[in-house]
Point group: C2
Chain length 121, copies 2
């Protein structure tokens, strides 16, 4: 095992990307996750620099939980992982689009997407 303190720049988001990110007061940006095949919007998670770094380098959708105040990897308990194909930053630098191959349902409720259950209009 390599101790984390020796990993150096491997744990840091690329400076050229970090310089383009416009984070909210909590250091976060919303990350819209879209299915590469169906094009369904599956969910929205939140990323700080480290979550984005992990997503880009591991190609697994990795987010910051605002309620639990910790990182989580989609599917780490359910097996419903997201293999990341593309990551895009929007024109304002304050939102990410993450295009994935989703294994199983994306929603923790068992629904295919997090937007299946509650239609307002």
């Amino acid at each position: 095992m390599t101790p984390p303190e020796t990993l150096g720049p491997v744990t840091s988001l690329d400076a050229a990307i970090a310089g383009r990110l416009k984070r909210d007061a909590d250091g976060l940006v919303p990350a819209v996750v879209q299915d590469a095949t169906s094009h369904d919007v599956l969910m929205v998670g939140w990323m700080d620099d480290e979550a984005l770094h992990r997503t880009l380098t591991t190609r697994r959708g990795t987010f910051w939980s605002r309620s639990r105040q910790s990182y989580w990897v989609k599917g780490e308990t359910s097996g419903h992982i997201q293999e990341v194909r593309e990551v895009r930053l929007d024109c304002d630098g304050d939102t990410l689009l993450v295009v994935v191959d989703q294994t199983g349902p994306a929603c923790h409720t068992g629904d295919r997407t997090c937007f299946d259950a509650d239609r307002l209009l």
Copy 2:
């Protein structure tokens, strides 16, 4: 002209919907806007209760600008309007999905979507 103070509940978001919304510290939720035909994710805006109410009742994508601290209707100056077909609330009640017929490019840069220009992966 009807003075705004006589409009009453017309200007208020339906209480059953308002009760399900989980807003951030600024009273906002992100609204992911998706093209009904291409299924492209076009942009992400922000809505408070009133912006959501206006979106649901006028069927025009209406948002809160965090930088200008004011409401804006997509296309009000550019003509690149969004006719709203569906609005969905996610499983946590803290994100909206707005499915639209988009006239013209969705991005103020002239790009088709706000995610066209900056691919990180």
